[in-house]
């Protein structure tokens, strides 16, 4: 394969610059650092923040369907709008926002290849204008479970020796590093990885300028250098499911994996779960992973 499986999922900075006034297109910025949007954004782009806008502020979950509809309505997004995501850090948060939009079935989502970095390197202009949105109508379907893995599904998945991809750093993967110093609440009680997970740190998917690596390079990284396969069910995870949404995007749209899910519970859930199997060290599976007791999978009465 010489080209991306779904090349239309990516648009260039030129494409975005040519569609700035297009009413059928909404440009959405999502960043690690919120003040970057305030400092300067693409003219007409709105900001959707992963923490404040996309997450439920009480329960550890995303906004519900009604919340998603409200968010789109307030931001001038209709079900047929082409939504183009971009942001800082290799579009990491842009991919996360795109994943949530796909969770609620938004049809036409794209990523501006290279994000803020490429736009800046191209010498394009930034705007500090406040962007007003026309109120739209939006009806969303219920969440699409085909792209989101929950804990019990991951338990079954690893038990049947299916593959996962752990996109954290090698130190987090092996279990050498448990959590960042002074971040006990963002840490986990156990270190290591889910049995069957290969380790491909997320940022390896991207070039220095923030764009995605070529199809050929991505094939080598994911298909030749690991045991991952396009037709095998695959689950991606990281610490809280954000870095892995970029890997999910790469596997699903650029490499054409037919069944890939993001496990947003990720290590913050797995590494704190009682009695789930964990592998430490550099091998995907190992002898030190006790099997989860069968009754762990018993559904609640």
């Amino acid at each position: 394969m010489a080209a991306y499986e779904n090349p239309d999922m990516l648009v260039s900075c030129e494409w975005v610059a040519a569609h700035l006034g297009d009413p059928a297109v909404r440009i959405v910025e999502s960043n690690e650092d919120r003040a970057l949007y305030t400092q300067g954004h693409i003219r007409g782009a709105i900001e959707i923040d992963w923490q404040v806008d996309l997450q439920n502020q009480v329960c550890r979950d995303y906004i519900d369907r009604a919340g998603f509809e409200k968010l789109c309505q307030a931001n001038g997004i209709s079900p047929d709008t082409t939504v183009v995501f971009y942001g800082d850090k290799n579009n990491w948060w842009a991919c996360y926002a795109l994943w949530v939009f796909k969770l609620y079935g938004h049809k036409d989502c794209r990523v501006m290849n290279g994000g803020r970095k490429r736009w800046q390197l191209d010498g394009r202009e930034w705007s500090t204008d406040r962007v007003n949105s026309l109120h739209t109508q939006y009806t969303a379907p219920e969440q699409d479970g085909s792209i989101r893995a929950m804990r019990d599904e991951v338990l079954r998945h690893q038990r049947t020796s299916k593959l996962l991809v752990d996109v954290r750093s090698p130190e987090e993967y092996s279990g050498a590093r448990l959590h960042m110093p002074d971040y006990p609440n963002e840490g986990a009680l156990r270190g290591g990885h889910i049995p069957g997970a290969v380790n491909v740190p997320w940022a390896l998917s991207c070039n220095e300028d923030g764009t995605f690596k070529s199809a050929k390079e991505l094939e080598k990284l994911y298909l030749k250098d690991t045991k991952l396969k396009r037709r095998s069910p695959t689950i991606a995870y990281c610490r809280i499911g954000e870095r892995s949404s970029l890997t999910w995007f790469v596997l699903k749209y650029l490499l054409g994996f037919s069944n890939v899910k993001n496990y947003d519970g990720s290590w913050m859930e797995w590494g704190n779960c009682v009695a789930v199997p964990i592998v430490q060290g550099n091998a995907p599976a190992g002898g030190n992973a006790p099997a989860a007791p069968a009754d762990l999978l018993t559904p609640l009465a």
């Binding site: 650092d33 919120r34 003040a35 923490q51 971040y183 963002e186």
Partner: protein
């Protein structure tokens, strides 16, 4: 000279009336006032472990005390203006004040500024870790660990 506390109160007062967007604009104002590292500190940065490891973005901090007057010297990557702005606020509040006052830095600065809500709990937690880092630097200075 005003105490660390009263300076922070004044900054928090400035924030009180602003909407979310204006709060971030004011934070960017503070960020732009953080001076670049001098040549001396550039050299020290290469030789000393001053990275704040609690932060995902590169942040380097020195808490210096001379004649009972503290000074926060810092370098924050330009791609992290929120962190840079918050560090600049701490630096302004601390400048010239005794270390005992720095140790009394409150933990709820972001909540009182109304920024915790704008930034979300995870980002606010990251910034709060910087306050803890600054306080630990004071303690290490007092116990002579950083001669």
């Amino acid at each position: 000279m005003n105490s660390v506390h009263s300076r922070l109160d004044a900054i928090i007062g400035e924030y009180a009336e602003l909407d979310g967007r204006e709060k971030l604009e004011l934070l960017l104002d503070f960020a732009s006032r953080l001076p670049p590292l001098s040549a001396e500190y550039q050299a020290r940065k290469a030789n000393e472990d001053r990275r704040v490891h609690e932060c995902q973005t590169p942040v380097f901090l020195w808490l210096e005390t001379q004649n009972n007057a503290s000074r926060l010297i810092a370098e924050v990557a330009p791609e992290a203006p929120t962190v840079k702005g918050f560090v600049a606020i701490l630096a302004e509040a601390i400048e010239g004040r005794p270390p005992e006052e720095v140790l009394m830095l409150p933990d709820d600065i972001l909540e009182r500024m109304g920024l915790a809500e704008v930034l979300g709990i995870l980002r606010a937690r990251g910034l709060r870790a910087i306050v803890g880092h600054v306080k630990r630097s004071v303690v290490r200075g007092m116990t002579g660990e950083l001669a």
